[in-house]
Amino acid sequence: AQRVTQPEKLLSVFKGAPVELKCNYSYSGSPELFWYVQYSRQRLQLLLRHISRESIKGFTADLNKGETSFHLKKPFAQEEDSAMYYCALLRGAGFQKLVFGTGTRLLVSP
């Protein structure tokens, strides 16, 4: 069965510090990985997806199949990055069930 693990419930950093939110997955096939974000009092929304290989709001994430990881990184955290971040896995094209991790709360202090 597919599983997504986010080992940190809370990550607290100071503004300007680098951020890495960890995500590991278990799935034997070729999954698609995503990061979703939920800002305070807002809805869950897609932040980025591994297949597009883009940087959104300064965040990047690289799929490492050898380590089965998809860590989210940002070199310089901003206060507005404070939010709940969820890593999610889709088994592949044609499937519809997103499997979410438990989420990591990122708190960026001034």
Partner: protein, 115 residues
């Protein structure tokens, strides 16, 4: 920008009562989903719906749950006989799938409290 809307935002019900949660997906989307999040736990898939039928469901989605698209706009989740453990935030989502598979647009959620 079009959004998924959900009603009610919060519902309190007695155990054993029926509950209907309503969702209006984004109008040109073809795939509809319900997820739930029990307080402090992860977002869990319940069901996906396409072409007027369930395309996939989880083990959580047992006989007490049903979904329906009664007209061209609404997508409902019915819980027939609520249990205490059904207390959760229920999220509706929709997608146009296709090339953007995995990009779900979520509603703000309906919080269900079962007493």
């Amino acid at each position: 920008e079009p959004e998924v809307t959900q009603t009610p935002s919060h519902q309190v019900t007695q155990m054993g009562q029926e509950v209907i949660l309503r969702c209006v997906p984004i109008s040109n989307h073809l795939y509809f989903y319900w997820y739930r999040q029990i307080l402090g736990q992860k977002v869990e898939f319940l069901v996906s719906f396409y072409n007027n039928e369930i395309s996939e469901k989880s083990e959580i989605f047992d006989d007490q749950f049903s979904v329906e698209r009664p007209d061209g706009s609404n997508f409902t989740l019915k819980i027939r006989s609520t249990k205490l453990e059904d207390s959760a935030m229920y999220f509706c989502a929709s997608s146009d799938y296709g090339q953007r598979a995995g990009e779900l647009f979520f509603g703000e959620g309906s919080r269900l409290t079962v007493l």
